[in-house]
């Protein structure tokens, strides 16, 4: 019972002031130039991913086994589905970026279930916004390279096959969709999925702790615990799906931007 009371002292004050949950605290430095929890986790992800990939492909053997096999099969799956499937043979030059995007987004989101670091870095808008801006830059650059600057603007704003009268309505919508809405929805999709998922996981886990304190409701504890475990599995699955969809949509936007109109 005293353990339950200690639990209550531990988290109840932050439940009373929810702003504390959403504002990051600087771990190193202060003011504008601070490293908070999200930045440190990002550095950790980059280091882990780099070490993993470099170790897997150093002294590469013709018949891969072990770690090299895992990395190669992941790369092959992404290359087949996203790069070649969406963009065809001329998409090979976007292959490394898309695979890095997938691996980074997947690890950044799956960090939610790693036992001591349970915080998905994609659940604060900075990381999804940055990834969306980089993807925006890449697909616009691909379009400008294919058509020239004014040719690209003409290709976005005046889709062929529309009667000339409707261009008054279609042009602003198409321009806003290509330039503003696409990166916005990419960022919001990634951010909101993990914001909601993290809150959901917190609700069930804290709910288990809360239910264990009161003798009357202790019968619900196994249900809450089972739900927490199920939601951990769901979060890993959603991390993989959202990272895959982000990379797939970036590839689709690159293809749409650089497609030759006939």
């Amino acid at each position: 019972m005293s353990a339950g009371l200690a639990l209550q002292r531990g988290f109840s004050h932050s439940l009373g002031s929810p702003k504390e949950i959403f504002e990051g605290k600087c771990v190193i430095g202060h003011g504008t130039l601070c490293l908070n929890r999200e930045s440190l986790l990002i550095f950790l992800i980059v280091v882990v991913l780099s070490v993993l990939l470099i170790v897997a492909t150093s002294r590469a053997q013709l018949v891969p086994r072990g770690l090299q096999n895992i990395v190669e099969s992941t790369y092959e799956f992404l290359r087949r589905d996203i790069v070649l499937g969406v963009m065809g043979p001329e998409g090979e030059k976007y292959g490394p970026y898309l695979v890095s995007l997938f691996l980074f987004a997947f690890l950044a989101s799956a960090l939610e279930v790693v036992p001591l670091l349970q915080f998905p870095t994609t659940s604060r808008m900075a990381i999804p916004a940055m990834l969306a801006m980089i993807s925006w830059g890449i697909y616009n650059w691909a379009g400008i390279r294919a058509h020239g600057f004014f040719g690209y603007l003409r290709a976005i704003m005046f889709p062929p096959g529309v009667p000339k009268v409707l261009y008054v309505i279609v042009t602003p919508i198409e321009f806003a969709a290509a330039v503003i809405l696409r990166p916005l929805t990419l960022a919001i999709r990634l951010f909101a999925n993990f914001f909601a998922g993290h809150l959901l996981l917190l609700v069930f886990v804290i709910g288990t702790a809360y239910v264990l304190q009161n003798g009357a409701t202790i019968a619900f504890a196994p249900i809450a615990l089972a739900a927490s475990v199920a939601i951990i599995g769901l979060e890993i699955f959603i991390a993989a799906v959202q990272a895959y969809v982000f990379a797939l949509l970036t590839a689709a936007y690159v293809r749409l931007a650089s497609a030759e109109e006939h």
């Binding site: 589905d81 929805t185 919001i188 999709r189 909101a192 999925n193 914001f195 799906v241 959202q242 949509l249």
Partner: protein, 83 residues
């Protein structure tokens, strides 16, 4: 019938106590729920008709679900912005 409608309109005019943004989130979750249900149903139907295309259909379904999920999630994020 008219009395029922009058009761509802009267309740709305009297003002809603509690969280209005929660009502907004609930309403915004109706559309994506119906949309995702229709989409998954059509995918299952297509997979039953042509089992050799099952993997391709599943990929398209996941892409479509990601598109419609955004709308419900924007509502969820808006819930926290509006509060």
């Amino acid at each position: 019938m008219l009395g029922f409608l009058a009761t509802i309109v009267g309740a709305l005019a009297a003002g809603v106590s509690g969280s209005v943004s929660m009502i907004g989130y609930g309403l915004s979750a109706i559309g994506p729920g119906i949309g995702i249900g229709i989409m998954v149903g059509k995918t299952v139907e297509g997979q039953a008709r042509q089992p050799e295309l099952a993997a391709r259909l599943q990929t398209t379904m996941i892409l479509g679900i990601a598109f419609t999920d955004v709308l419900a999630l924007i509502g969820f994020v808006g819930l926290f912005i509006a509060k």
